[in-house]
Structure formats: C-alpha cells, structure tokens
Symmetry: C2
Subunit: 209 residues, 2 copies
C-alpha cells in the first residue's frame, strides 16, 4: 500500500508518518521507485502501536523510539524489553543531594528489599516513589509502610494478572505487543478505574446527593 492509504487506515496524516520515519519510530517502506514506496501490514500495526503509546500511554516520542529499538533487536529478551520500557517511561531525575530525598530513596529501597521484589537498582519507579515520599512529607503528611500496605497488595495482584496474561506462544511481534499493552496501556486502565472508584467513594463520604 502507499503512504496515503497508510495514512487513511492509521488515522495519522502523511506528514506525521513521515515525521515518525524521520524519528526512527517507523521503518521506511520498501522503495519501488524514486517516488514510490510500498508499505505493508506491519507498518500499519507499528503505527497503531505508536498511536497507542503516544495517545493513551502519553509517552514522549523519544521514549517510544527507545522501546522500538529494543523491539527490533531480536537478541533483547522479554524481560530486558520490559526494563527498557520502564526506563524509557521515566521519570529521569538526577538524584539531588538533598538529605530528605536520600532518606526517601532509602525508605523505598528498604521497602523493595523487605517485599523481596526483584527490581533493578536503577528502576525509575523507585525514584518516582521516593519523589512522592518527599512531597508528602513536605506537605506534612508523613507516610509509613503500613500506609502502603493496601497499595502493595493491589499492585501485586494486578501486576501478577498482567504478566500472566502476556501471550507467550505467539510470534515475537505479538508477544512483544502483548507485553507493552499489559504494562503501558493497562497502567492507564488502572489509573482510570482508580479515579472512578475515588469519585464514588468521595460521593458516598462527602456527597450531598
């Protein structure tokens, strides 16, 4: 198919597709002549993946580029791809020497150790959690490990479910999509349901009717 058809079917403009090619998110079509290239189903699927990661997952283009690079390297295992995705998602904070921050990060590391979770030292999610600790404490809402218990429980159950859902038998492409979907997209599902459940709880507690 030509780029115009790719555009129609993906819902993205030709310009945007060219942009994604420039940025290395999408491989070039196979050149048929100097002014014609042929695109196939995989290009379309790739574009759908990019759209999902951008529009739903809200990932920056640069992060998607890193993920794509890992996807296209067949020597990258599923777990390594997972790590790449986590790292690309961020946040990327240069650890400040603020003692409060250091203490929070220490608490996070202790928590992970206590839970026995097998998580990289560099996982940005550690920083994200530490960041929330610092902010909570600065606002005068100290956080303790018992406060976290319900969150840990919920996170563990949901994560277990997600990783278990990754289809392992199919093609690598399919499996990889399955993994990304389970992590990036279902994170949004959890967030959305969390907000809805909060609103309901708020209505019951504070609502007037």
């Amino acid at each position: 198919m030509q780029i115009s058809e790719l555009s129609d079917r993906s819902g993205l403009t030709v310009q945007t597709i060219k942009f994604y090619i420039r940025e290395g998110l999408l491989p070039r079509g196979s050149a048929v002549s100097a002014t014609r290239s042929e695109y196939d189903r995989r290009h379309l699927e790739r574009l759908r993946l990019i759209s999902a990661l951008r529009e739903v997952g809200d990932l920056p283009v640069a992060a998607i580029q890193q993920i794509i690079t890992a996807i296209e390297d067949d020597t990258v295992s599923l777990h390594e791809l997972f790590g790449t995705t986590q790292y690309a998602i961020g946040p990327h904070v240069a650890a400040p020497q603020d003692p409060n921050w250091r203490a929070a990060r220490e608490d996070v590391d202790a928590l992970v150790r206590e839970l026995g979770w097998n998580v990289t030292e560099r996982a940005p999610a550690r920083d994200l959690l530490a960041h929330t600790f610092v902010a909570l404490r600065r606002l005068g809402f100290p956080i303790t490990l018992t406060d976290l218990r319900p969150y840990v429980r919920a996170a563990r159950e949901v994560a277990e479910h997600e990783i278990g859902r990754v289809t392992d038998g199919a093609s690598r492409a399919r499996t990889v999509h399955s993994l990304l979907v389970s992590t990036v997209l279902y994170e949004q599902v959890l967030t959305a349901l969390h907000r809805l459940a909060q609103e309901d709880a708020s209505a019951r507690r504070f609502g007037t009717g």
Copy 2:
C-alpha cells in the same frame, strides 16, 4: 517574610514565584510599601502544594489554577472540589463520532452502572478508560469485563482507603490538602508500586537471573 526568603524555603526561584502569582496560583503578599510585600506561612504551604502537584502529580499549571480557584471558594464542598480536581486533571477529549469510540464509551458507562458507582457523566476518567478500550481493540487485544475484575477490585480497595484517610476534623485548608494529597499524590504512589510489582513479576516469569 520577603520573597527571597520564600524562595529559599520553597526551593523555587523568585522568578517562578512571581510567575505563579501572575498565573493566579499564589496570592500576592500583603503590600508593605511600593517595593516590599510580606509573605507568610500560608504562602509557603501553597507553594509546597503547587510544587507537589506540578512535580509529582505532573499537573499543568492551568489545572492547578482551576483547583486553587475551587480551594479558595469556601462554598465549594469537598466533593465538589474532588470533581473539580478530576475534571482539571483531564484528559479533555472532544468525543469523536468514531463508532468504535462510541461503543467503548458505552461499555464504560455500562460498567459504571453495573458497579453501581456514583460517578458524574462528565468525569474525564470515563473517557480515559474508553480511550484505552479503543486502543486495545485496535491492537487486537479485545478487553472484556472479566479482564477488568482485578482492576476494579484493586481500585475500589485503594480508593476506599484513600477517602477514608482524608482528615475531616481539621481546618478546611488542612482537609483540602489532605484530599488533594490522597487523590493526586497517591495516584503516583499506586503507579510507582504497580511498575515495581510488574518488574518483579516480569523477572519471575521471563528473567534469566
């Protein structure tokens, strides 16, 4: 205190503080002379709140502005403030006439109804969830209500815990902070723990050691 001290204590530059005043996130100090204003503890607390919502919650300035406006209006109830926050957080999607989108949104509405949740029709989280449905289906990963069960359970438990934690006896300012913290900041806590739990699950399932 003067603006320079406010700057030191909040960790924000004088420029940024002035910017927040211009944007209506922070009230002006009480003018002492043409070139001197007095700031107090509330200004500092406000700045800490703004920083938390910006840096940890990743809210845009415009969203924080809406929340602040609601905070400062004493006639706004806690539940209304909650709604304002949810709305400010977004996403703000102009519902397209795409039939897939309509169907997804219908599914979300049906789910909310079935759960008996008391949630506004306009809650952006409905759109967020619908958005994920569309993306998942386009990628060939259809989603069913049973898939959602673990998420619903987790979301409900955590939300219940959060709303229950909102301190109701203290001053309005304190209660309001408590509510915002419980929603915006703990959303990040949940996200971070979710990612960590996923990495652990991934390590166990796909890890090499």
